[in-house]
Structures are given as structure tokens and as C-alpha cells.
């Protein structure tokens, strides 16, 4: 067991609770998951720790999802606080939510936007879109066909005709999508 049994401190729990909205029970559970993923027992996760989860490793966007955690931390390790902040994006939204929570519609959309925005310039270019499409379909669809899918998608949502999709345009395009439901995980209490 060793250092693994190091426990969460009360104040840490309540701080995370305030920041993310998870209940303390959920935080304790997720902490136990975090320590399980943390094979090196150092209190943080690396990319390889995430990709050891087979179901994530075969996810076509697995790399992008893992990347989201490292964007949060801006280093090559993710601690529990940062881990929880990213997970918080996937908490269900309550109907009359207060503003500026990590799990509101805008945060969820930002998360989805970043899946496409590979270089982090807040724009989805045609190349980036093509790249992500390629991740999702592999070699099953030809580059030409993917190109026409990308062109069609951009022309549909690109309002200012700059051949890129900005976050605003992305939000507009997702207007009719039930993001709250599709980006929410049913956490048990």
C-alpha cells in the first residue's frame, strides 16, 4: 500500500467541492479511481496512465480526450485537482443553474470545440477538421471524400466566410444540439 493510502484532507475535499460541485462522497470515490490509475504512486497522472485504460486507448479520439487534461494542467502531469476540474465539465447541468460553473453549456461546448482545435488558436481550420475526421474514420474513407465532408461542414457553419470555424460559429452550429444531455455523465450520488 505505502504512499497510496495517503488520504484526501478534509479541506482539500471541500475546496474541490466548491470548485467543481461534486459531492464529497463522489470526490472520495473518484480519488480512489485516481490513485488506481496512478500506477507510479506519485500523486499525478501521465499520458501513459490514461492510455492504459483499453476502452480509452481504442477510442478514436482518445488522444484528444487525454490532451484535454493536459491543457488544464499545462504541464506533462495531471494532479487530482486538475483531474477533477476536467471531469466537472461532464457533470449534469441543473435547470436553473447559476452562472460560471464548470459544467454549464458553454464549458461543455468549449470542451467539444477543443477536440477539434488541435493547435489551440481558437479556430478550427479545414486542416484541423480533416485531421479529426481522419482520427474518427481511420483508413475507411478516402481523403477525397473526407475533404468534401470537411468542405461541406465548413461552408455550412462558416458565417464570416474566413474558411475557419470560430468558437462563436461553433456555438451557433450546435444551437439545436442537446449538449447538456450529450455531454453529461450520470454520476451516482
Amino acid at each position: 500500500m505505502g504512499t497510496r493510502s495517503s488520504m484526501l484532507q478534509e479541506e482539500e475535499i471541500s475546496e474541490i467541492q466548491r470548485e467543481t460541485g461534486f459531492s464529497s462522497n463522489q470526490i472520495v470515490r473518484l480519488y480512489s479511481r485516481f490513485t488506481n490509475l496512478d500506477k507510479s504512486d506519485q500523486g499525478f497522472l501521465r499520458r501513459a496512465d490514461f492510455l492504459r485504460i483499453p476502452e480509452l486507448a481504442i477510442n478514436p479520439l482518445g488522444d484528444r480526450i487525454v490532451h484535454a487534461f493536459f491543457q488544464e494542467s499545462a504541464t506533462d502531469t495531471v494532479n487530482f485537482r486538475q483531474f477533477m476540474r476536467v471531469l466537472a465539465r461532464f457533470r449534469p447541468v441543473k435547470k436553473n443553474a447559476t452562472k460560471n460553473k464548470l459544467n454549464d453549456r458553454e464549458e461543455k461546448l468549449k470542451f467539444a470545440f477543443k477536440m477539434y482545435d488541435l493547435d489551440g488558436d481558437n479556430m478550427i481550420s479545414r486542416d484541423e477538421l480533416l485531421n479529426v475526421l481522419h482520427m474518427m474514420v481511420g483508413a475507411n474513407i478516402s481523403d477525397d471524400q473526407l475533404g468534401s465532408i470537411a468542405d461541406r461542414t465548413i461552408s455550412e457553419v462558416d458565417l464570416d466566410k474566413d474558411e475557419n470555424i470560430s468558437f462563436e460559429e461553433f456555438v451557433k452550429a450546435m444551437e439545436r444540439v442537446d449538449v447538456e444531455q450529450k455531454m453529461s455523465i450520470r454520476f451516482l450520488n
Partner: protein
């Protein structure tokens, strides 16, 4: 085994000087020898006074009492979540009254499962073709996040989480201070387990192993024939029964009429202890990698008495060689049924993982066996990446008991035109169903290796198939 009672006088006078120690020791010596002899004699004839059953029954009562205490303590879930209580109209609010449900260790309820063979299961996608939408990434992101929070594979390689504490430190993950009373209970438990049970069990195990080595060495000299086989059967049953008693094993065998007489017997794998469990009801030939150290000595001594197949590390990669030796073993008359764990690695007793097809190619008739341990009395899973074999043995012997169920399933025959893989899967599902285990198609080898790059192709292909392209 009533080992506890005979030790009791020695407990209090621990600090009272050498004289008393010696007196106590000499007083204890005789009953101790008596108990050990009794255990050996009973094991020889495969009889039991039901002491172990009574002991297990008593343990259950103690757990029940403790569980009640814990439940009362944490019944309200604390005073947390003040600003959260209104925040949860969409969060699933189950439990409360059923604190100790089996699903108690679950964190989320999953919407998606990304399966290695079927891809992302999204019912509304299935029969239709659709155009690509920007929102399609949402499915993959959510699915990936769900896997990060809770996945079906990695948790099978670490100790099973229990819904209730069984007074062993190692099973309570974030072990919090509960109450003075519980701590006291735990201390007493610790004392009983380490100071009384453990030394007693080590003595028994030592006798069992010595007996096994002596008897196999002797039997090894006998000429081949029915006398050797009978003697070997008797000696092997006896030594394994002694060994099972060394971990206070209480094993229930179901459907013994289906027991294998020859051929290939496959079982799910939790720990090397599985072999001992199964061998105290029937004799098996074993196949496996030749180990070093203590395990190696055991393997060599077993091989003296009857035909086992041990491979050198360099040979295990050579699949045709393994298959050849396997098939020559089962076609040889009078050979013992061979015991195989086709998962190839130990899984934590909650699921059955992919069966390697090898043994299913060799024989078209398979005798499946399902083994399920009762985790309440101690974790039987060997986490080989964390504990050495000796550590694992020590852990088993310092647990409360080893309670398990063994089901002999009716022999299964490979259908015409059925591939070995399909046959293996069919046997696996049968074992999972009987043992109440989760049937997984993932490879247990993922314990050490990462997934093959090619496996990414399945979800990609599945997604491509629903995309409408010009």
C-alpha cells in the same frame, strides 16, 4: 479448526517472565501437536468435523454486526453537499436505504460501452446512414470520459472493492477512522489472524508441502502402472487437502458428476491457489511455465509422481510445440486430465476475460470449471504486478478464511464448423454464467501490455459505416 482455543492461555502471560513462557509453551505443546495431528488425519481421509464451517459461520455473524455499526455511522452520508442538494435533480439519487448494495462501489452509470469487437454502441445510429455532424465528437468524448472514470478492464486487475468492510486493512481503500469500537474489533482481529491463525497455518502448510515432496519422491521410483496411479491419487489428494486446511479453505463442490476423468479441464483464474482448491477434489496434470524458487521446487516434485507439462520460458512462445505436447498428453492413455487456465493471467474474481484459443484447438471436448471465491473472508486475487508469490501466500494465510464455490460444468463439445475462438467464447460465457462473473471479451494480457494499435480500427470502421459519403 479450533486452533484459537488452545492458544488462549498463552496470550495473557506474554510479559510475565521466561518461566511462565516456558511453562505455557510446554502446556501448549501437547494440545498443539494433537490439533495438528487431527488436522492431518482428517485430511488424509477427506473428512471434516465441520469446525471450519462453524468458524466461517461465526465470522459471518461478526461481519454482520460490524456492518450494522458502519451503516448506522455513515447512514446520513455526512452533512456534505449543502449547496449541492438542489443541484442534483438530474443526478441519479439511488441508494440511501440500501447502503450495502452490490453496486455500492459504482461511481457512474454508463451510457456508452466501447467494445473491442463492436465499437461504440449507440442504438440510434445503428441502421441509418447519416451525414457527419460537428456534434459527433460529443459521443466519443463522453464515452472516453466514462472510461476514464470507470472502465471494465483495469479494475479487474486490482483488488475487488467490497461493499462492506471485513475488518482487514487492505480491503478498505481510503480507510478512515471509524469508531473506537470498530478499531478495537480490528485489533482483536489482527491479533487472532497474525498471532494465532498464521503460525498455526504455516505449520500445517509446512507439513503439507513436506508430505507432498516426500510422497512424490517415493512414488517417483515406482514403476508405471495402476498401483502408482492409485498411490499418487491418494497422496496428492491428501497433501492438497492439508494445504487447503492451511488457509482454512471451505470449498463447496457442485455437480461432482461432471468432474473430468481425462482430457482438458479449463477454469477461470484468480490465483495459483486455484490449483490447490481443485486438486483437493480430483487429480490434475498441470501445464505451465517452469518457475524458479519455491514454486519451481514444488513443480519439480510434482512432476516426479505423474506427467505434468512444464515449459521453459523460452519455449512458451513456441505455440506449435505447446500444442503438440498438449495433444500428446491427452491422447496418452491413463494420463490425468490436464488443468488449464486459458485466461493466461489472474483476474480479480469479478469477471472472466478472453480465453486463449490454444487449448480449444487441441481438443474438441472440454470440461469447464467455474471457481468463485467469497471476497468477504479475504481477497484471493494474486495481483502479480504488486505482490510476489510469497507475499500473496502470506496474505492468503493471514486472511480470515478461503471460502469458495466450485462448479463442475457438463463437458462441452465443439460444434461442427465452429472455430476455436467461437468455442472458447462459448465455454467462457458458460463459466461466467455459472460463477456469477462478468463475461468480458478483453484480453487479460492488457494487465501488462497496452492495446494493439489495430484495435482502434474497429470503432473507426463502425463509425465510417454509418457516415454517408458521396
Amino acid at each position: 479448526m479450533n486452533e484459537g482455543t488452545h492458544h488462549a492461555p498463552g496470550v495473557s502471560d506474554e510479559s510475565m517472565g521466561e518461566q511462565l513462557m516456558i511453562a505455557a509453551f510446554s502446556l501448549l505443546f501437547f494440545p498443539l501437536v494433537l490439533v495438528v495431528t487431527l488436522v492431518i488425519v482428517l485430511a488424509t481421509f477427506g473428512k471434516s468435523f465441520g469446525i471450519r464451517h462453524a468458524y466461517v459461520g461465526l465470522l459471518l455473524k461478526v461481519f454482520e454486526a460490524c456492518r450494522y455499526k458502519v451503516q448506522v455511522k455513515s447512514g446520513y452520508g455526512g452533512l456534505e453537499a449543502t449547496d449541492d442538494s438542489e443541484d442534483e435533480d438530474e443526478e441519479v439519487n439511488k441508494k440511501d436505504e440500501v447502503v450495502l448494495d452490490a453496486g455500492d462501489t459504482q461511481i457512474i452509470e454508463k451510457d456508452f460501452e466501447l467494445s473491442a469487437t463492436k465499437g461504440l454502441e449507440k442504438p440510434s445510429w445503428a441502421p441509418f446512414k447519416k451525414e457527419f455532424e460537428l456534434s459527433d465528437v460529443l459521443y466519443f468524448s463522453k464515452c472516453g470520459m466514462e472510461a476514464i472514470i470507470d472502465d471494465n478492464v483495469t479494475k479487474r486487475f486490482s483488488a475487488e472493492e467490497l461493499p462492506a468492510w471485513n475488518l482487514l486493512t487492505r480491503t478498505q481503500k481510503p480507510h478512515q477512522f471509524m469508531s473506537i469500537r470498530m478499531t478495537l474489533f480490528w485489533c482483536i482481529g489482527c491479533f487472532v489472524r497474525y498471532m494465532m491463525l498464521l503460525p498455526f497455518r504455516i505449520t500445517i502448510a509446512f507439513i503439507g508441502i513436506t508430505w507432498m515432496m516426500i510422497s512424490t519422491a517415493f512414488i517417483g521410483y515406482l514403476p508405471k502402472g495402476s498401483f502408482k496411479r492409485k498411490l499418487n491419487r491418494w497422496a496428492s489428494l491428501m497433501s492438497f487437502r492439508i494445504l487447503v486446511r492451511a488457509c482454512s479453505g471451505v470449498i463447496k463442490f457442485h455437480n461432482r458428476e461432471n468432474m473430468a476423468k481425462s482430457g482438458i479441464c479449463v477454469a477461470n483464474h484468480t490465483s495459483p491457489i486455484d490449483v490447490i482448491i481443485l486438486s483437493c477434489d480430483n487429480c490434475y496434470a498441470m501445464i505451465g511455465q517452469a518457475h524458479g524458487g519455491f514454486l519451481g521446487t514444488l513443480q519439480r516434485s510434482l512432476a516426479r509422481a505423474t506427467a505434468h507439462i512444464w515449459f521453459e520460458r523460452s519455449e512458451t512462445k513456441d505455440r506449435t510445440l505447446v500444442a503438440k505436447r498438449l495433444s500428446s498428453h491427452i491422447t496418452t492413455e491413463n494420463n490425468l486430465p490436464i488443468l488449464i487456465f486459458p485466461e493466461g493471467t489472474c483476474i480479480n474474481n469479478t469477471s472472466v476475460m478472453m480465453f486463449k484459443k490454444g487449448s480449444f484447438e487441441v481438443s474438441s471436448i472440454i470440461y469447464p470449471v467455474a471457481i468463485k471465491y467469497d471476497p468477504q473472508f479475504g481477497d484471493a486475487f494474486w495481483n502479480s504486478s504488486k505482490h510476489s508469490w510469497t507475499q500473496h501466500l502470506l496474505q492468503i494465510m493471514s486472511s480470515w478464511a478461503l471460502v469458495c464455490d466450485v462448479w463442475y460444468l457438463p463437458p462441452m463439445i465443439r460444434k461442427e464448423n465452429e472455430s476455436a475462438v467461437a468455442f472458447a467464447n462459448r465455454v467462457k460465457s458458460e463459466i461466467a454464467r455459472q460463477g456469477g462473473l462478468v463475461d468480458l471479451e478483453w484480453d487479460g494480457g492488457l494487465k501488462r501490455a497496452t492495446v494493439k494499435e489495430s484495435m482502434k480500427g474497429v470503432p473507426q470502421e463502425q463509425y465510417s459505416n454509418i457516415l454517408k459519403v458521396d
